[in-house]
Point group: C2
Chain length 514, copies 2
């Protein structure tokens, strides 16, 4: 941590006692994170049964430790001291956010937590099977139970006047976010994206997809993406990159970040895009303050800000012409002459092909947010009782026709494609789009603050951007809410304009639409 | 589990409550095991500081959970029921051994446990540095503290009348083992080994060392030893093989066994020997009863029996002529023509070269036990106050001259070579030799019980031996003590005769001494 706003550990005894208590609970969570990573990357199949018991024990102990009355007393004592301090100093932020988390956590009865955890574990198994068989009926009762339990959870937590149950759940992923906020952003965005997609659909010029269809050896791909992650700034002395079925970024703290990617034999972009994305998450985690590990000042602001980091490195950096100017001459070191027939234009075009499809995680920058909007609408409808769960497949398919003009062939490639709802994660999806918007807005600001930013990319100079993110985003931990952070850095509220500018500046020339 | 003596989970409520409580504590230990494995194989350097806190938290919680008064009450209730049952039925064994562990654990104050854990962590760091610099003075104060704390620990635990402090500590590794027992075995064994080594030293014929000096690619070595582990019976759906600086076998339970090996570019025997050895440990763990995981019936009998399994697969199998008859034709699939110039005799000889040296873990079958005897004598002397710690290097070097005829060049290759004392593990070493003796004694019995046992090895048939071990050793968990198990299976007390017969039958012809 080199930022001037970096915090130092608490010195007042009211803080040290509270923070030690919170960090004790956090330590259990950090252990669970390693076990979770291990489960997806290393664990032999035989380990599954005991692993779920290990994780559920840690979750219970962590909850009990954090919600003990002793923590409540320590919060009260710390609040007495904090009143006289600036509201955004590190200690005050820690006390404010710990109190917030504590009062949420203590509203939930242990029995509900246990039932949610157990249902999540069983529903995920049911989902895997239902998805493999493309049979929604097998998952339906579990989704019904998951939604019912989440409604109960929301009722325990409560939500702001005029709001809805979704707001209480979304708060876990993006503090204070409401469905009304999301709707205000999503409705105009949908119209603008639809217009752009209509124009692209009618374009006569088509970018080359050749690089995406080039088979390359997996071992060489692995060395290549590892080199890319290191080059953009991921610190391998404080992290790892492994393989998993679904890429993710986990680990126990800022000095032990575990990210994963996956490899397709026919397309290095699958692994590269995932790696750039997860590296963005990973570098955010690595930028947090170790002295504050387990405290709000050493924790990411929320999932939208997290996603802004991953999307920026994936899209604003990894799909840009300057990046490929730097990357192209290096391909030979990994793939010998396999890519020699592809020009710089070929690579850049392959990185930016637009193709409406059924699968969110395989979608391009222009259609991605449509997938997110569909899920947001559907999870609200499920929670509000506006749509019987049995109708999910039909409604899903109709929305894909409306939003993206595609006919979903089966539930496996339709409403069963994502893991989130089976895990009980309702209220999560919109952070993907909010983060994508924030990425574009932050990047416009970084471009102003850092002279020659993108020119530097052509020489492999990514440190200026990372330093800028460390100083403007990472060092603040949970000091600011999403919109507050956005205004503070960019001088404006979160807006879709920068992302639309980013897309149009790139896609219109690529499709000959200027 | 296919054995007729396999146990079923408890049904009486006095047992189910007790066993559930014990398994809850065990679950924390099983989590710690995964974290310990991760630390040695996967964790980036940055993770070290928080990891020691995670592990110490789990150790504390595990101890608190196991030593709670509630467990004491449940033990008393279970003992009331168990009186009317056969002493060696599964439930009775579980109650007997849980009670034994509980009464030991509750004798130790938490403060001493915390101090031991913290000293171990710091002493290991000091040892690593002292060893790197070959500077015993840096480690001396930590060893002094470790010995003092272990004397305190022994005093808390107490020891049998006529015994000594060492007995109390050894009990953790081999239940009920005493220094007097060990001495009775070691003294005559030393004389017999010394005589054999003297004969070998004077031999005119020398086995070929060519295979040990052949450089082979590490990647090919890795595939080769993995194939060997699988062929002898290690189940990769319930375990892993990775790399670490020092090979070990860990993991959280019988369906998730984590073993490691290491690779030397110039000698595949380093990796193969370690892999066969750790596979022996791993297959023992995999042979334990999952339904009894965390209970004594699902736990290995002790470290001597554990070592008998690893040494048998490493020595009686992996250094035998029948094994190499089977293995040699397969070398080409991994190493192309690199080994073609080596005959079967070359391979067998390389596996059995005797060469007195300074380093225990690199030593051969004939000199190995001399290394163990030296450590046993020294740790007793340290505990009994017969040798000031400052004199350890001088005494160590003198013993190496006396026992093995070698001059230790420096402390790095002398008294600083092993990790055990720095971890606080005093009373551990003799189990290596007791296990080696048991391996030979069990193997003689297996040879009688399984017609054509070694002939089968020439065809890669290792399942009969593994099944025999499952039925005679693995299924019993902690039902029998070392000597009891040995008598039950072989009809005789543990003896050095079978190992001496094994060594002489192999080494005398190899050195032209018949």
């Amino acid at each position: 941590m080199t930022s001037a706003t970096a915090s130092t550990p608490a010195t007042h005894s009211a803080f040290t006692h509270l923070f030690a208590g919170v960090q004790e609970a956090y330590l259990l969570n950090s252990t669970a994170s390693i076990l979770g990573w291990d489960q997806e990357t290393m664990m032999p199949n035989g380990g599954a049964e005991l692993r779920s018991r290990q994780l559920s024990q840690l979750a219970r102990l962590g909850h009990e430790s954090f919600t003990s009355p002793k923590i409540g007393e320590l919060i009260a004592a710390a609040q007495d001291v904090v009143h006289s301090m600036p509201a955004d100093c590190a200690d005050a932020v820690n006390v404010r956010e710990i109190s917030r988390d504590y009062h949420k956590a203590t509203k939930l009865p242990s029995s509900l937590i246990a039932e949610l955890a157990q249902t999540a574990s069983q529903a995920q198994h049911a989902w895997v099977e239902a998805r493999r068989e493309s049979n929604f009926k097998k998952f339906q009762p579990w989704l019904e139970k998951t939604v019912q339990l989440n409604i109960q959870k929301a009722q325990c937590l409560g939500w702001p006047k005029g709001g809805e149950a979704w707001d209480a759940l979304a708060d876990y992923y993006e503090p204070a976010l409401t469905a009304a906020d999301v709707t205000r952003v999503f409705e105009p965005l949908r119209a603008r994206l639809q217009k752009l997609l209509d124009r692209i659909r009618g374009a006569s010029k088509q970018p080359s997809n050749a690089f995406n269809e080039l088979a390359l050896p997996i071992e060489a791909q692995e060395k290549f993406v590892r080199h890319m992650a290191k080059s953009i700034g991921f610190d391998f002395s404080c992290g790892r990159l492994d393989r998993s079925a679904h890429p993710f970024c986990g680990g126990s703290h800022c000095r032990d970040v575990r990210m994963t990617t996956r490899y397709a034999p026919t397309c290095v972009f699958d692994a590269l895009g995932s790696t750039m994305h997860e590296s963005g998450h990973g570098m955010y985690e690595q930028g947090l303050d170790f002295a504050q590990a387990g405290l709000p000042m050493g924790t990411a602001a929320g999932l939208s800000v997290h996603e802004s980091q991953s999307r920026m490195w994936e899209n604003q950096v990894g799909r840009s012409m300057p990046f490929w100017k730097w990357a192209r001459p290096q391909l030979g070191a990994f793939f010998e002459d396999a890519c020699d027939h592809l020009t710089l234009e070929h690579l850049y075009q392959a990185a930016n092909v637009v193709e409406p499809g059924f699968i969110r995680v395989e979608s391009d920058e222009a259609t991605y947010n449509m997938h997110v909007m569909i899920r947001f609408q559907l999870e609200r409808d499920m929670l509000n009782g506006n749509m019987p769960i049995a109708e999910l497949p039909a409604v899903w398919n109709k929305m894909y026709k409306d939003y993206l003009g595609v006919s979903v062939p089966d539930d496996r490639r339709g409403c069963l494609q994502d893991v989130h709802w089976s895990m009980g994660a309702i209220g999560y999806f919109p952070t993907y789009t909010l983060g994508t918007l924030l990425a574009a807005q932050l990047f416009e600001r970084a471009r102003k603050d850092i002279p020659g930013l993108e020119d530097g990319f052509t020489r492999g100079e990514f440190a200026p951007l990372l330093s800028w993110l460390r100083a403007n985003v990472h060092c603040h931990g949970r000091r600011y809410r999403l919109d507050e952070l956005c205004r503070k850095i960019t001088g404006a509220p979160l807006s879709a304009d920068p992302m639309m500018r980013h897309l149009e500046a790139k896609l219109l020339p690529l499709y000959g639409l200027e």
